[in-house]
Symmetry: C2
Subunit: 193 residues, 2 copies
């Protein structure tokens, strides 16, 4: 989406979304630490006060950008925890994780490679927990091997889905292959869809 050169008149919600889209584009281009509220205001053609009306800090913008993915991850973890067996929990977590990472691959590419983002996220205990819990749910019996497999699946899926060299693959192909490979890593049987 291109930035408009004037303040948007279609309501504050639309302005807020344009602001978030533009902030993401600037974070990806100049890094999180290298993007100021002033730069966001300049690109949108609005005053810094107009940005400030929606977000007080760059960190507030980051929080708003990742919020939808955070909420989806919470829902996936809750649904996985409700399963009755360890392997059903691991499989529900894995499937949800694959869907989420493919859907938000642009966001993950930004989060995963920007040290400013990584260090900002360390101060969100909620986010730290979200990175820990999927590994636990996927680490089946809690042995060293299960823990290594869970880390491999998590890191491999997130990195592959968000890798620039994988972006030409259709999202459905990527999802299907990552799910199948994740199940092989964790030693889970393929289930009927």
């Amino acid at each position: 989406m291109r930035a408009a050169t004037h303040a948007d008149s279609r309501g504050p919600e639309r302005t807020r979304q344009r602001l978030l889209d533009e902030a993401c584009r600037l974070f990806a281009m100049h890094s999180f630490a290298g993007t100021s509220l002033q730069m966001i205001a300049d690109t949108l053609g609005v005053t810094k006060a107009a940005v400030y009306h929606h977000f007080k800090t760059r960190d507030d913008i980051l929080t708003a950008v990742i919020q939808p993915a955070i909420e989806e991850m919470h829902a996936i973890i809750t649904a996985a925890e409700a399963q009755r067996t360890p392997s059903a929990r691991a499989d529900a977590m894995l499937s949800g994780l694959v869907d989420l990472t493919v859907k938000h691959r642009g966001l993950i590419a930004m989060i995963g490679t920007d040290p400013g983002v990584t260090s900002a996220l360390q101060s969100h205990p909620d986010v730290v927990e979200l990175f820990r819990r999927p590994g636990e749910l996927m680490a089946l019996d809690g042995s060293a091997e299960a823990e290594i497999n869970a880390t491999l699946a998590l890191a491999g899926i997130a990195t592959t889905a968000s890798s620039p060299v994988m972006q030409h693959h259709d999202a459905d192909v990527l999802r299907r292959c990552l799910l199948a490979a994740g199940r092989r890593i964790l030693g889970l049987r393929t289930r009927k869809p």
Copy 2:
């Protein structure tokens, strides 16, 4: 290894190695871009001229730090390419890669997460080729699924071996589990050791 407070008298080779060890420690602490030759000299308790005698630029130090791993990777690729079948080539590449990443996990942690290092490495065509070739050797039939599996194995293994939460695992356990999981990802049969 702690830094000495005086120049080492046991010959230039030993000084060069101390310089590389100390540079790695500083790169990990302050990032590659945040470490100057002056800081390296100060930490070693030598003059900047003494550092300059061994390395003209920070980039020369990075090249020297990664050189042993680069040479090992070349040898692994050459050995894998000499195998007669696609699956033997993939398996040789995978085994070599697991050994290399576990052995150099500290170095990979630094290379993988420091944007200054990543951007410095982009100017080494030799290194770019080294990141591309293992994926090709592991992508068996060249289908979309094989390509996704190879990327998943590569990224997953490198990230897991170098992850801070995996450092408490014994190197042998890590090697054995990563090799077994990598074979499951790529659909390779387990071979006799």
